[in-house]
């Protein structure tokens, strides 16, 4: 494949300007950061006012889907095909350096740009209803109570083709000015991890109902992002 097939194009919109050595545009890096999260922040504009809404999302190829209610501001605004920016950020560590200026954090972030549309095609919407569960919890939909027609009607999905995207990564821990390492000042990196707790079965479970093996990936102490990436590849083995 050519470079252009493996990478997202760059423009003034997505080119990483500040600390540009931290910028990446290849699909593998961008997709890996996206697939490690279920939470994103979507920015959109109404009458010149920006909004930043946290929501759940998933990727399918070079498309992103997210969930909303047909009553929400965002959807009313985006149904016509609105420009949005969808961002995912992982905080990996706090970095305490020998001067204030070099205090920092390790992180991985993606900004994805595109034109959002309301999913109205019945076939695409049916796929989204399943994927919004099964992308996170493989094969779960097959064992659930079937969706009522009014539930599907009340559920709205927004989608966008990723037109441009950039990843920004810092992963170096303490980075002080060379002359400052000689100073008698304490410096450290504090790792930050988002982990799963012990699953809490619903107190109203029917007797004899036990946890299906398909949820084994969500085990106590595991990194959330590992569970999410694993679930992604179960559902989308081709990436």
């Amino acid at each position: 494949m050519s470079q252009s097939e493996n990478s997202y194009p760059t423009s003034a919109r997505n080119k990483v300007k500040r600390l540009h050595e931290r910028g990446f545009y290849d699909r593998a890096t961008v997709h890996g950061i996206l697939d490690s999260s279920m939470l994103c922040h979507v920015s959109y504009v109404i009458d010149g006012q920006p909004y930043c809404t946290p929501t759940f999302f998933w990727r399918e190829g070079t498309k992103l889907y997210w969930h909303g209610s047909s009553a929400s501001r965002m959807l009313r605004n985006q149904a016509g095909g609105e420009r949005v920016c969808l961002t995912v950020a992982h905080l990996d560590s706090l970095v305490l350096a020998r001067c204030g200026f070099n205090h920092s954090a390790d992180y991985r972030a993606v900004m994805a740009f595109g034109t959002a549309y309301l999913v109205t095609d019945p076939e695409e919407k049916e796929r989204a209803v399943i994927a919004m569960v099964d992308r996170f919890f493989p094969d779960r939909t097959a064992g659930l109570r079937a969706s009522h027609a009014q539930e599907i009607k009340a559920t709205s999905f927004i989608a966008m083709e990723i037109e441009e995207a950039s990843a920004k990564i810092r992963a170096k821990g303490v980075g002080d000015d060379e002359e400052d390492y000689a100073l008698p000042i304490y410096a450290e990196r504090i790792p930050v991890r988002t982990v799963l707790g012990a699953p809490e079965p619903c107190p109203r479970l029917r007797e004899g109902v036990s946890r299906p093996a398909t949820l084994n990936g969500y085990s106590e102490g595991r990194l959330l992002e590992d569970a999410l990436r694993h679930a992604y590849f179960v559902r989308y083995p081709n990436g």
Copy 2:
């Protein structure tokens, strides 16, 4: 104090419309969610295009501060006093229900609206240089190598008075339709926690330099948000 002094005003901009029973506007709730995070997402608009930038921030009373470089897009745009939306979201659990529609998550989120400005007043900037470290790591600046003039010049801060804000909280675990509880389907809540790892001292520490007691709040296994809230109250005991 009157209700209006304890709460942020509501308007079409910040009123929680979808699932409005999850909306809160009181300062204690809004500030508690903000102070539990060092990462926020800031939305702003350039030529009709929305951008969503993850960055570090802190609160001082009803003002929010965040950090950027004078080279960044956001600052160039916001220096003139731009409308922004600053959002913080905590993911608290994944919720697996008995049908797709009731799959959800527990979360706490805040959207804060205001007009951002570049901090140019020398006194306010000097306070921000200290607070961007000491708000997270109490009293740390006093023990650091003093900032060089060119470092302060190269550091830019954006601030905004919170004009309106809303919090949205879901904290109920599995919430199925009453008739669905009788079904033989497994349902659970999986807690999600963001925790601190073991601090990793800089490999180039001078001999004899040890971890100061002021960092005791950042201990292995502690919730990041607990460490952040504790540090906040050390620096801002009046809230």
